[in-house]
Point group: C2
Chain length 76, copies 2
């Protein structure tokens, strides 16, 4: 799980920075607690698909744009 969560968190951070949003602004837009958003970006939590869609909507990108490639990930 860790690899996946870390890779996804990195994609969220990259997409957030590309859209010029602060972590606080993204958390607010997603109705997520600021510290929880930090944990998402650091890959410390395994978010739900619904949360993925909320973040994608706030970042104005497709949810799939935040999904790491399966290759190289260890999925148990």
């Amino acid at each position: 799980m860790e690899q996946l969560a870390k890779a996804l968190g990195t994609l969220v951070r990259t997409q957030r920075k590309a859209s010029g949003l602060s972590q606080d602004a993204l958390a607010l837009a997603c109705n997520i607690d600021r510290s929880y958003m930090g944990r998402i970006e650091r890959g410390e939590v395994n978010i739900t698909v619904e949360k993925l869609y909320q973040i994608a909507k706030a970042l104005d990108c497709a949810p799939s744009a935040l999904l790491p490639s399966m290759s190289g990930l260890r999925i148990d």
Copy 2:
């Protein structure tokens, strides 16, 4: 959440049938309880991204292939 979960469940079911797996076989391959897999396909639960990857791996498809299009979905 319901719309998203239902649309995702339908995609899992369609992909499962296309790969010729029974619901039991998919549940076993994902190390998921049979009845929980049924709830996933009926859109009754909001799965994690990790579970999405486990299902995609068992169905030998990309995780994004199981993600409904954002358009038409109400994401709160």
